[in-house]
């Protein structure tokens, strides 16, 4: 005895999955087109530089989301890794005369190695100590990089040579770095997507949902968390290094700042940490808003208040972010998704009868016949 709802549901789902696939590909093409044409659309060099800043934020937020989105562990101190990536790049160039791009990658590898003991210390126990360590790390690095003047340049900061040489003009430099950031972002998104669909990713998402349960099903939770944490630190360091090469100057106050780390959190959370493009969307919104704020009101305490208020609103009222909220809105207009519970309750009753008649093992065949 097939129930009507089931007969309707299956074809409807098949149809929507093809249309959503087409929509996704189209969306991706539009996004790529927008990114590629942005430098030529930008009216002046300033807007172009804002674009680079936003792309850099998108890289950092997406890197953050490797650990935040998959495992649900919120790190407030990812500025530690972007800062170290930047400083590592700068120091390798200025002190060891390494090629700038090689320096950036080498710094990323060094930071990833550094993240291993940090991860071991902070991921063995759940939740609270992870956050505490993440904050402590930024504070300690700020202290060290400010005080160890002979090596890091101290509070005066450190200057990097321009990687493309001095004959490349500012707008040209901005354009190149915009594309470089976009390329790095594309690599990150590809990696996130690959992990998201992999068995590894399934284990990570299970950790986010219920860590004990995941472990009881055989997921090696600690190893998984540590691996994804190190991946996240590596990419964050690359992002920090690339930013350093573009900006050409590092100041510990801005590199090892809790605020920078919390921007990554706010951006990811606002866009949606469980979505591939969530952090990117968040970075565009928050990054644009911040630049707007700075241009309008200068560097006052106002941005702290705005940032605090926005974060509180997101945490309290939309902890899942914009993308899931939009998706929910779209789903509301689809007939079959609206009432899973009712359908399932009816189905369950029907199946219980069926199961009682025939016993469990024949149910598979029965299903085949129905469809």
């Amino acid at each position: 005895m097939p129930s009507d709802s089931d007969l309707v549901t299956v074809p409807a789902r098949a149809r929507t999955s093809t249309t959503t696939r087409v929509a996704k590909v189209l969306g991706l093409l539009v996004l790529a087109g927008l990114v590629i044409s942005f430098p030529s659309l930008a009216p002046d060099s300033f807007i172009l530089s804002v674009g680079v800043v936003i792309a850099s934020y998108a890289v950092l937020a997406t890197s953050w989301n490797f650990v935040g989105g998959f495992t649900g562990y919120i790190s407030l101190g990812h500025a530690a890794y972007s800062g170290l990536g930047g400083y590592g790049t700068a120091l390798l160039i200025t002190r060891a005369d390494v090629n700038p791009w090689l320096a950036m990658v080498a710094a990323g590898v060094l930071v990833a190695a550094f993240a291993v003991p940090v991860g071991i210390a902070s991921l063995r126990v759940r939740g609270a100590s992870f956050v505490i360590v993440s904050i402590a790390l930024v504070l300690i690095l700020l202290l060290v990089f400010q005080s160890w003047g002979s090596f890091t340049g101290g509070s005066n900061g450190i200057r990097l040579p321009r990687p493309f040489g001095d004959d490349v003009l500012r707008p040209e430099q901005h354009e190149r770095f915009f594309y470089l950031h976009a390329a790095l972002l594309a690599v990150l998104l590809l990696c996130w997507w690959a992990i998201d669909r992999s068995r590894f990713g399934m284990g990570l998402k299970a950790i986010r949902e219920d860590e004990d349960k995941a472990q009881s099903l055989g997921v090696p939770t600690f190893t998984y968390k540590l691996v994804v944490f190190v991946i996240s630190a590596f990419f964050t360091a690359l992002g920090g290094g690339m930013y350093a090469l573009w900006f050409g100057f590092l100041d510990p106050i801005f590199q090892f700042s809790i605020l920078v780390g919390s921007y990554m959190v706010l951006m990811s959370l606002l866009g949606g940490i469980r979505s591939l493009f969530g952090p990117l969307l968040g970075a565009v919104i928050v990054g644009y808003a911040m630049e707007f704020f700075k241009a309008q009101y200068g560097d006052t305490q106002a941005h702290l208040i705005a940032m605090g208020a926005l974060l509180a609103i997101v945490v309290l009222f939309m902890p899942d972010g914009i993308i899931p909220a939009l998706r929910g809105l779209v789903n509301r207009f689809r007939p079959q998704a609206a009432s899973i519970r009712e359908v399932s309750a009816a189905e369950l009753a029907e199946q219980r009868r069926a199961a009682e008649d025939t016993g469990g093992s024949e149910r598979g065949e029965k299903e085949e016949v129905r469809r």
Partner: protein, 294 residues
């Protein structure tokens, strides 16, 4: 290193440890009743310090009198914060989301302080600001002694409240096992609210003590939150006595290390202790099984 210098560092370490202990006790209360890591604790500390400074500037009275209104005010804010904000969060993600929520409150406080009083460094001038006590060749500022006295008195009061009163009993029961506490008829929501209020009241007292002998500015709270976090982890999250012992030990350590290393590098001691604790004994050195699960 001379004996009197060592003695002076020891005494200063104990005095500093007292203040740390009071503030860490507050942080432990929040964590105990709600499993909340309250990042805004030190921001409230600085807020209380500003209120004490502002009170003295406006009235010319002693900053300690500001406690008469800051303590009840902070207690009320704490209760409201728990009831209106923290309790809204989903239990499954409470630890992480409460960190973000209290972090955003810290930013708001810092921003508002910067707005209201600008970023200028402030200091209270008192008739006894410059007074010192000689103590076997060690010279100890009177204001530091007063600050320690305030902290010690409040900590003793908190201890009596927790150990000797019915409310304290309910609070400890809620911290140890929330469901069991509910089963024996404790209104754990109300207790959690009061626990939050008490925690914030320690920030009010600590802030006033801080204002007596320190220069304050809006972003100062970042210098406090790191050491305090280290203390509660070393002490074992959720253990009030553990936090107090760890606070004393780390305060002393910091003060002694200042002699060979200088103030800046001495601060790294907290972070080293934090990492060492998590590597060797993740449940903290004095904590119970509470920490193990978090």
């Amino acid at each position: 290193m001379t004996g009197s210098l060592l003695l002076q560092s020891l005494v200063l370490g104990v005095l500093l440890g007292g203040l740390y202990a009071l503030l860490a006790a507050g942080l432990t209360l929040y964590f105990g009743v709600m499993r909340v890591v309250m990042i805004a604790h030190s921001a409230f500390l600085i807020l209380a310090a500003y209120l004490a400074w502002f009170f003295t500037r406006q009235t010319g009275l002693d900053p300690m009198l500001s406690l008469l209104f800051t303590v009840p005010l902070f207690f009320g804010i704490g209760v409201l914060m728990q009831r209106l904000l923290i309790s809204r969060l989903r239990p499954a993600t409470l630890t992480m989301m409460s960190v973000l929520l209290t972090f955003s409150i810290a930013l708001l406080i810092e921003g508002v302080l910067g707005f209201a009083f600008t970023g200028t460094h402030r200091r209270i001038r008192l008739p006894y600001s410059g007074a010192h006590l000689e103590f076997f060749g060690a010279s100890i500022a009177v204001v530091k002694l007063i600050a320690f006295g305030l902290a010690a008195l409040s900590l003793a009061g908190l201890y009596i409240l927790l150990k000797r009163t019915r409310f304290g009993q309910a609070l400890r029961a809620t911290m140890q096992h929330r469901e069991a506490a509910q089963l024996v008829g404790i209104n754990t929501d109300r207790v959690a609210g009061f626990g939050f209020g008490l925690g914030l009241a320690t920030a009010a007292i600590g802030g006033t003590a801080l204002a007596l002998d320190s220069t304050i500015y809006p972003s100062l709270h970042w210098h406090w939150i790191g050491p305090l976090m280290a203390i509660i982890v070393v002490g074992g999250l959720g253990s009030v006595p553990g936090a107090a012992i760890a606070a004393m030990a780390l305060g002393l350590g910091q003060s002694l290390l200042q002699i060979p290393l200088g103030t800046t590098w001495a601060q790294t001691f907290f972070y080293l202790a934090l990492f060492a604790t998590l590597m060797l004994r993740p449940q903290g050195f004095f904590g119970g099984r509470l920490a193990q699960r978090f």
